[in-house]
Symmetry: D2
Subunit: 463 residues, 4 copies
């Protein structure tokens, strides 16, 4: 599935004495790179130095493109935050790259943010009326301004963060660095992931635990929905006053289906296991006689292994993926288009020739990519192609940061399953049933609004 784009990854670190946290952040962001490839940034601060002296560098591109070694060496400090971005609300302008740093009455702060504030426009309007001025267009700047204004009236950053929570609607994971502290906040529904780990005599906060192990840290636990964590030289403090009861939680199902890294575990559910189980559930729900099972790289592969295991059909690799077809690759023009999918994914003909196959993908948005793949498989000699999809049909827009917000793009919105099956040229098509999602994630309370239209917060369409 190419059409849904993940959003952002956040990373924060606090170490007692080590002044080279920028390098840890570099490794952490590289581990989170799958969450956003458009821009990357790091802000650090030396808590023993001049207060307010935050060093920041950010630019468009991958982490390894944005940061050369000498850049990291210039970023000296023992506290830091980092960000990888795929643009959601606000456009791809470099002004919207994060971290964002702000001066305000009591000093300086830097902020990184994953997610979407559903009522950002309302809050912005209110801040405008109070005389605020904005230089970027992202909702992160709105959050930062809100917190800075609240901070001007309260005793501490963490108190300002706390006062902001009732105002902010949406899914978000935030890390705020003041010259002496890190403050981390996860939205009260737990839509966005955020976890904490230990590293030496310090702490690390990350969107996913894979980035904690990437820097040699040790996972402690997920931050609870609504929890505010403050790390300073007085140690770590958890404010759970705004934490919600489990019945109010709504963890985004798409983190498991698509966003998160295969080796991460979020809210105690292993991403790998959830996908493998999705494959098993699809096999039970839609059994079919076939010779081989294959997945669409990358996110369909694990489910294909689960399907193969449950159905006792050999798992094979039907596609070769060319990892050199990257961002700067010159795409073929319309006339040359047919070869385009071949460039990135090519069928391994010897594997599929003369075979009845099951093909697993994570989701269908427009349906054009899977249709192409099926046609390639048939050209290579596959006799049957039975498609199984690890998620229910996409019927509703997401307001929390997933970049598919317009119904007209959703094929399932205006076509039956049979119609889609024919359109993509499959022999049969089975979508994961909503009631089977629990096979993926057990009794974890989920946000599955994109499938069932039940939104965990108030929403308002953004003009």
């Amino acid at each position: 599935m190419d059409e849904i784009r993940e959003e952002c990854g956040v990373f924060g670190i606090w170490r007692r004495n080590d002044k080279d946290v920028s390098k840890d952040i570099y490794y952490g962001l590289t581990a989170l790179q799958h969450r956003g490839q458009e821009a990357a940034g790091i802000a650090v601060c030396d808590s023993s130095g001049e207060p307010g002296n935050i060093c920041i560098y950010k630019n468009r591109g991958l982490v390894s493109e944005v940061f050369a070694e000498h850049k990291l060496e210039e970023l000296k400090g023992n506290i830091g935050v980092g960000h990888v971005r795929y643009s959601t609300f606000g456009g791809s302008d470099v002004r919207n790259a994060q971290p964002m740093a702000f001066q305000y009455l009591k000093g300086t702060l830097a902020l990184v943010h994953n997610g979407n504030i559903v009522n950002a426009i309302d809050i912005k309007e209110r801040l405008f009326k109070e005389g605020s001025v904005f230089s970027a267009t992202s909702d992160s700047e709105v959050v930062a301004t809100l917190i800075a204004r609240l901070r001007a009236k309260t005793g501490s950053v963490e108190e300002a963060v706390k006062q902001a929570v009732p105002i902010l609607e949406g899914g978000y994971a935030l890390i705020i660095m003041s010259p002496r502290k890190l403050v981390a906040l996860r939205d009260p529904q737990g839509l966005k992931p955020l976890c904490i780990g230990r590293i030496g005599d310090g702490y690390v906060i990350s969107s996913e635990d894979c980035a904690i192990s990437a820097v040699g840290g040790e996972f402690i636990r997920d931050i609870n929905p609504g929890e505010i964590i403050t790390i300073s030289d007085k140690g770590i403090r958890s404010d759970t006053e705004l934490c919600t009861s489990e019945s109010e939680h709504a963890h985004c199902i798409f983190e498991y289906i698509y966003f998160a890294r295969l080796d991460s575990t979020i809210d105690k559910v292993s991403v790998y296991n959830s996908r493998y189980s999705a494959g098993r559930a699809l096999s039970k729900a839609y059994p079919v006689e076939a010779d081989i099972v294959a997945g669409v790289p990358e996110s369909g592969l694990t489910a294909a292994m689960g399907y193969a295991d449950e159905a006792n059909i050999p798992y094979v690799q039907a596609f070769h993926k060319n990892s050199y077809v990257g961002r700067t690759f010159i795409k073929p023009t319309k006339e040359e288009r047919e070869s385009a999918v071949h460039m990135k994914l090519n069928v391994i003909a010897d594997v599929v020739r003369g075979k009845r196959m099951v093909l697993i993908d994570d989701s269908i948005v427009r349906g054009t990519t899977i249709a192409n793949l099926i046609s390639m498989l048939r050209s290579a000699g596959a006799t049957q192609v039975h498609v199984r999809i690890c998620s229910p049909p996409f019927l509703h827009p997401c307001y929390y940061g997933t970049d598919v917000s317009d119904n007209s793009q959703l094929i399932a919105d205006h076509m039956s399953v049979d119609g889609i099956c024919k359109m993509i040229g499959a022999d049969s098509l089975g979508y994961m049933r909503i009631e089977d999602l629990s096979e993926m994630t057990g009794d974890l309370p989920l946000c599955k609004a994109c499938f069932d239209g039940i939104y965990p917060t108030e929403v308002k369409t953004q003009g």
Copy 2:
């Protein structure tokens, strides 16, 4: 004189239909490049399009480095502002590059600014208390925030600008672009230059008139101190209510001595003539028997011609200047240092050998450069070197944008003229007398605070 750095150049343009003003701004900024080589930026707006849709691009480097052709083509609009920057208050961070664009209650505006707001810290403190948040560190952001806040409470941008004038202390030239208008403002003392011209069916505003002719425009007049000019599709409007009487004017003498381009005319005084007259005045004040007269490139050359003419001594070129020794040139280390001045300026030995010479420079800050040059001239065979300086001794810091704000750097602060003469190794030394400055600029009311300590506004040392 290498040690004083000019500040900034501003340029604005309003055309009725032409959507390619970015190219005009490109040429205008190239003509103003001498005012700042650190960063360049352009913001444009299409007044017939979506309001608020301002396109902006800025980066470190020369105009020709920052803007490639395709960049200019992306910047479509019929109104625009541009800026070349040398950092004064705020540091060289790219965040401080201009134009600065802001969203506020009533829409969007972009701002370019030359000068220094003396009380920027006080205004910032006041804005902090009202809840403002800043993302850059320059005083331009302070001005923009102030205007945006005032705009939120008043009926028009020009009204907001007008209310800002009594609050802002210092020397400044401002151009503000709202989606439909250009508003230009010159400080009530007229410290910073700003003029207006006609181009086709539109108007152009510029720090110096050389940029007006560079784009094929026609100079109309200087903007008056305290005058607010508004250009929109209703035509041009001048608000003179805050204009001061001539006795309150204080035009910066250093624009004539050093900052402005030789072919500019500011406040009706030709820069070339003022420098040529400075040379004549020096010749009358400090005559000396000599064989040749030469200037230190570039800003000493014209005065040398005037001195030569007055004294009836041949004008010669004593130095070759290597124009390829630019910003990226790798400077010699200390041990290799002696050759450094040779790299940039080399004596033309055949010209000075066996000659008694007069050497003209614009000013002396630390005295090291002129000392080096004199030593080079003597090595090449000059028998006498009589130094004449086009400005009086530097005794007081400038708070209005000139980057020499610390007395300890000023050699004249702690040394007599005789002492300096010995220190630099000259046979005689003559500084322009304060009473002779009128020979340069006639009866133009001047700010010459750096010489006499009489400041035209309240000042406050910035911490």
Copy 3:
């Protein structure tokens, strides 16, 4: 296996009228990028234009980094050759990038080359004595000079190529472009792969067939060892006079084990099938009781599927590979080193915890990488790790282009299999037996000198 680096990929195309072959070459080289990531280059020629007017562009970097769209558009022609390079003999200097273009008595030619000329130094010495001068240091320049000198004495490029064959010892695939023709040559042992396809009214020549399908062409056949193919507007001509009998053929086994792309078929043997069969063979030769089978990405995965299938043990994915850890990634220092493998490959702990596993890799050179992986697997809870290697122990250097030419680097050269097993921390270790290689490639005659020391050509150690 990280330690062996593939060498080069070559691509050539001849079209009757289409002047945009540079874009085809771009796609072809992208499909061959796995064969070399250090430098890329394209040379084209318009056969209807001025003879001798060859346009060439090459630089360090990936194909997509070297070629922007406007670069391709400047390269107009209907004949062309392209190259991706990993440096073997000659160093990484950009002077050694290919294509290499030469002027000689009869005109101009461009050449691309994959492989190693074993007696390059001898030939160079001989050319030196005849007065030749070299500006690069690669053996490709030696080949080109040899052919150009022969061409000066003979009637055609193809004749010169033919005369060069008895002089050149080694493994090589060559494509030579003269202003009107493409001439392709494969070494008489068939050590290096080269095949031909049809595209529209033209032809394409490539190291692997995956690049033929990438440009929408149709595979015709492998070029025979010793065969010379000439393509011009007179059509295609095959000169088989120097072709050897099958008993003299010696196809490089490492193309199947490691170099070639999974979806390629070389000399009628599918790379996928050969690797899958290697897994099966390993399972038969070294059965073991285990819960799961996994491969080391990328080249160990297919064999792991084969092993799993043969042994009837579930195939799983034990590692997540971070595809963003690329060439420009800043590697951790020694002290940070432990996390380095984690950055690129991370264990999916939920998969291996409490499991007895079989781990398949393609080969062992130094043994350090596999030792690290095993230690990671045990940390994640794997109870047993049985290692199976798809190739026999590496005992002899390769002189034909594989970048492992020094015995001291080969762990198998100075350690027993038991010793290696202990050193890498495996529970058991099984190398593919030489006699089982036929299970991979059937009765294809192979060069397996790196395992058995039997070289198909004379060799001479290069000083």
Copy 4:
């Protein structure tokens, strides 16, 4: 004069122990940058190390753009050569950038070359027939190949250079570096300049003496036409066997008029003096009643001072030159063209208004630039513009490296002086008379073939 482009600058250095000559070369090339701005390169060698180990780096751009500090640090050696290039014969391809390094029978050599070999095509043909192959298209590669082939048959590089002299026709200055020696050669007519200096315990060779003083060296003398200088650890050796008598010398007059730097002295004639004298000569030959004398920057300025002095009319600066209009400046399109000259050169109106002026330029090629300038001067109020040109009319092509080789471009070839005067809009026009050239350079034997068609060598038009 914009239309004639200078050619190249060469620089060589030999130091006993200092391994950082690359930095000296960097400074030397910066001092010679006026001779070529298209490409720059440095090759160095450590004479105490492995023989043949020459390090080289070259690229398109100015010296300061091509060489960053770390690049210079990688170029370690005590012998070196450098080159700045403006393309003459061979095109602007980076393959033609110098130094060129070659391997040949006896080792390695690097070569830098200023000038043009008139019979390069003949020599190339001959080398082709002997089996040579060329990878670049410049005549420098021809020279290098010739020398390498001769070296293969003789005992030393200097002997090979000597044998090459009778074969090479044209104007050239060569520096050849072998791993232990520098060999410098100046053509027997002395068309191109080359001189030698001392630096510490070593030597430096340069196109002009300004580069010797730029590195802190001491000028020794010009190298004689036909002289071969060899520098090695045995000291310096001069071979004068091929030196010609003074009557055969023919020094290029354009070095004085335009190419060389104002502060250089070539063949004992000061460039400054020669230009100043040209001005005096013009004043005597073409006196006119006028108020002011001005020059066209840069090369017309000195002559204008001489004219002013001789005529006793005040010297003034009539144009401001914008030094920021550089190579990357986006030129105005045809419609915007009028402003183009204004961008680079702007009239200082106050200087010329109401004045009768004499305007001095170095030469006229097409006449369009001077016509534009005259029109600008009249617009600014000049009442009369009398043009004086420091060189006779251009009537014949130059075959020795000056980039004007086609008669059709030369306005003087098909128009009378009166016609040109009218065409450019001058009130009067006076060209330097051929018989007056001796006033510039005394009795120095000159090549003035471009004026009188008398070529000092055989010439042959290059196809």
